[in-house]
Symmetry: C2
Subunit: 754 residues, 2 copies
Amino acid sequence: MHLAALALFQALPSNSDALWLWIALGTGVAALLAAFILAKIVLSADTGTLEMQAISNAIREGAEAFLARQYKTIGILAVVLAFIVFFGYHASARTAPFALKTVISFLVGAVCSGLAGFTGMYVSIRANIRTASAARSSLNGALQTALRGGAVTGLVVVALSLIGVGALFLFFGGLEDPTHVVYQLVGFGFGASLVALFAQLGGGIYTKAADVGADLVGKVEAGIPEDDPRNPAVIADLVGDNVGDCAGRGADIFESTAAENVGAMILGAALYPVFGIKGILFPLIVHAINLIASIIGVAVVKTTDSEDPMRALNRGFYVTAVLALGGFAFAVYHMLNGPGVEPAYLLLCGVIGLITAFLFVWITQYYTESQYRPVQSIAEASLTGPATNIISGLAVGMETPAMPVIVISAALLLSYYFGVKGLAAVPDISDYAKGIYGTAIATMGMLSCAAYILAMDTFGPITDNAGGIIEMSNQPDSVRDKTDKLDSAGNTTKALTKGYAIGSASLAAFLLFSAYLEEVRSIVAAKVTAAGSAGFMPVGWSFTNINLAEIPVFVGALLGAMLTYLFSSLAIKAVGRTAQMVVKDVRDQFRENPGIMAGTSKPDYARCVSIVTGAALKEMVLPGCLAVGLPVAVGLIFRNFSSAYSAGSGIAVPTINGVPVNLGGASAVAGLLMVGTISGVLLAMLMNNGGGAWDNAKKWIETGQFGGKKSDAHKAAVVGDTVGDPFKDTAGPSLHVLIKLLATITLVLAPLFL
Amino acid sequence: MHLAALALFQALPSNSDALWLWIALGTGVAALLAAFILAKIVLSADTGTLEMQAISNAIREGAEAFLARQYKTIGILAVVLAFIVFFGYHASARTAPFALKTVISFLVGAVCSGLAGFTGMYVSIRANIRTASAARSSLNGALQTALRGGAVTGLVVVALSLIGVGALFLFFGGLEDPTHVVYQLVGFGFGASLVALFAQLGGGIYTKAADVGADLVGKVEAGIPEDDPRNPAVIADLVGDNVGDCAGRGADIFESTAAENVGAMILGAALYPVFGIKGILFPLIVHAINLIASIIGVAVVKTTDSEDPMRALNRGFYVTAVLALGGFAFAVYHMLNGPGVEPAYLLLCGVIGLITAFLFVWITQYYTESQYRPVQSIAEASLTGPATNIISGLAVGMETPAMPVIVISAALLLSYYFGVKGLAAVPDISDYAKGIYGTAIATMGMLSCAAYILAMDTFGPITDNAGGIIEMSNQPDSVRDKTDKLDSAGNTTKALTKGYAIGSASLAAFLLFSAYLEEVRSIVAAKVTAAGSAGFMPVGWSFTNINLAEIPVFVGALLGAMLTYLFSSLAIKAVGRTAQMVVKDVRDQFRENPGIMAGTSKPDYARCVSIVTGAALKEMVLPGCLAVGLPVAVGLIFRNFSSAYSAGSGIAVPTINGVPVNLGGASAVAGLLMVGTISGVLLAMLMNNGGGAWDNAKKWIETGQFGGKKSDAHKAAVVGDTVGDPFKDTAGPSLHVLIKLLATITLVLAPLFL
């Protein structure tokens, strides 16, 4: 710490550019402080009746026990991977000097991600009861409590990602040697992704196994309502909302901001001659703006008892978006300037990113809300039974990628185009690098209100839990009406943020590909330079040629697409197996203790929580290891025998002693990464939106349509909803994380593929 | 005809290579003759009782009416497209000279495909009653009748494809100028694909809409058994088996052999300096061998009343495979030779193709037969209701691409490797061209028993229909046992051939990509040559650079993957809408004529057939036009504004007046084609195998497992089976055709994208 302080001190006067870094870091720390204050406010609120507290405590204990065990498992896996990375880098004299720094940034990323998840959940599982208690007096109080609880997650996630990347950059000497230090940050993104993958997988399996298991044995077999305290799995179900939706999504967005920060900094380094260090620090400043805008956005949210809470949340979002846009413009004009730069075009790229975010949210609403055709068609198909409900839901799910793909395509083409235009007069930089930086700016624009979006997202499980606590503690109907309203808004925000998450993942994908290609170029250049006079580097060579017509790339692409299917299959099967264990335990408890159903004795909630915890953690290992293992295997295999497979496209390639540098491993991995991402994005959309549409078709029928509750149509719709659950809450969100993990793991391990 | 005969006569003495073409054409004609004799034998068989004939006639009339109306619709679409191609080619002076030849081969391809489909179905819908009648005396007679009926389809399809391609090659002057004429054949493949797409879509929608509609209103609402003559939709259901499975699959395999013949000939042209014209004619000879081997294979099939008919069919397949392999070796050693060629390696490529076919069939069996884990896991999941049945089936479906993708990857890598090795000593040809030719040989090896496979496939609907006729005409149980055995074998062969079809599609995909790239190269070369001294062509330049890191290629890839989802969604929704019309008509008939249910009067079968015919033909237009329109749109859009998007990978490119030839349109389309194919192959596997597994899980429960028929598990399994129906019989098979259509349409329209 002393050394760090010294470094900080020295950096300040010596470099005026360093001011931007200080602003970013300072804002990050301020945002943590704001989160702390928000948490204090939330925690000081009333905690309701003793009965409510008993339920809330059970949820809290279950969630904390799960998180503790999950982090232990992830910790072990992370340490193993840290060793692999360390020794992998040490296998070659060329990479050995970077081994320690990469491992350090990997571990810092993993720890920050874990910390962000833990803090967010710490507040959420305490905000739920306070929201429930506030709902007994006013809707506004409940709404504000829930949103502020959510905002703690949002701010901590974005601030820790900002501080982590910024601090590593500083301590690794980024202010002195920025263009090399950025590559040493890739470990941070990988650490974040690894934790996110297992957090989302484990949490996603937990939440849906508990939900499906509780419903199967409670609603279907025993005939008791949802959230009935006699169901031994009911607490596990409520715990699941926290560990899946809340901790999982937090880790997801943490890795998004981390990976995209690092990726954008690498691309900024490619434009170092134009913007200097400011181009590298730009992403950090955007997230500083994001934090400030989101804090203000959260602060202005206020509602009345009669208003739809969704309107209040949207007002906060609009305030955030306008402020973020203003800040973004400021940052573009002050940081992305230099001879020949036209910042107006670069700002336009950012605006394109923001518009893309809006369109994604709108499309998600169209496909998952009951007033539109898709959900209505599923509800109508329920009239002829579960089979037609399922067919119709799958057809809707398969339709959903169409519009988002067109939006993403347009966003990529336009932001690339404006990137080239904005830097047209800049010499010595290829059009390609300019265009790609345009797409990177668009991605940053899209992420410039991420903290508010995440606050809205975490609002979902808090209100869901609050509703459950009110339900189980027998509060009057007027209170229940309020929490129902909040719960319904929470369902909407959860669906919207899923749309936002996949939108940012697909737009960012290109940024991360480009960072990977740029990194491979830099490694090859270093290799050739090290060879001295034996090395030859063609003028202007860059590794921007991922040729699908080459067999290794095509095979990589096939395997990448296959990975997304197999990974989803494993995740879904894991839910099924874990749910069976829940069913078995609940049956056992009913049999062992007949007093439970009679209402004379309490079920053993903790036993059920413990069983599902153990099973979910066991089940997350296989799909997680597949996701980590396959790209590594492809890279290593093709590194060794791909020289036979060159398409010989006539490109002059770097050589050492006249032998071309073998790019087969790096190319095959690029094919896997790119086509795996395309396939993963589409599958995730199918699952998220299909699942959301099934859910809301059921809810729409429950409002009295097509026969209402207890009709045959409703029974059919319940089948669809159950099928959709592991889609939208386990496999779909895990695919988001998988996509980014592929990007970060290839960034970190690229040196091993060459 | 006179001119044709003259051309034949002149060709014969002038060129000894021409002998190979004559052998191919002669074998094709002989195979047609054999098919004619087989048809005679089948048609001369006994046609059973008057009651059976009444049912059979109703099926025949319905199927013929559908086919007539379908061909009218397809005819109109084909003529429209012929005009588009003609004027598209005439838009540029460069392509205008090929306009007429391309349109002619397009129309010949379309007509041959239609003819093959019609002939095959003509025999199938007559073989069904004869199979039923033969089953009254012996299983062997029934088996032979059904297989011979199927063999007519198999032989006609392969022979017409062979004759069509061979004759066009001859009449366009291929013996004189082979390397240019091969490009004029691309229209043949496109014509075949276009007919196949609509035949499979229309037939697939018809068959499943009739099936689902009949079941929903018959089994579920009215409570009458399947194939009950009181159900007005029962004939439509039986008609569907013919128009979907039989005509649809026939068109599918016709286009496969056509497209792959043309693609392999184009690649052969690239190796013209090595093999001469023999390398171009090799694919035709392979199909001649295929025909001879398959005729013998069909002839040896013989069974006894006690044997499992599947064993007899497999014996025939083994005979065919061994003969095909022998013939293949003969062809390789006699045709693919020249200085420096090592034919043993090339034969190895063919063997790899055959092994791939076996592995695909085995994997399909593993995922769809009841003795293995996947089907059993679905059956077991049915115990907890339809939701878990569906989840489990989808998880199995998503798992299915894993093994086939690994097999295909290995087949591509190995056949490429052996292709390079086999031609290692050949000078002046790039390793890439050698390797790609190796993969083409593997594809031909895989297709070298296509005619027998197709005979087994068409065996399926014939026995299905025979069973239906026996069921409806109240035959004794002993007869029903025989047709049940055949029906069960037919279900297996249908599943296996679907595995074979998707395997050949994925292996052939690379062949067709390469043909496209080769064609683009040849167009660019012609363009540069035409520019005279203003043109510059880098030495050894080839269009083998489909760079995913370029935005247009990546956007094309995104859109290609999206197309497969949207297309599937449209196909599935079409089934749903058409099935609703069936349900409505059946309900109307029951209401209008109460005598139907009482058994006192006959329902109006024809009305239902006519309604579903009209609806299916209307519904096939939108997905079909999407499949045709999207690649054209991408090609034309990116042709015009893609120059801003070059990755500038340092490749020397062809220029005219110093301006690089704009390859953006051709590249974007290549991205769409390749990634669309990958996505389509995986989705098709998910749907085919998932659907097959659901079907057999239901059947397994019906054998008494998990409570047997009428248990809750069975009801849940019926839901899964119904969901799987449009997957495996409409969307999945239509995706096979879509993949090949993408390949052929891009081949034909490539000149417009440049």
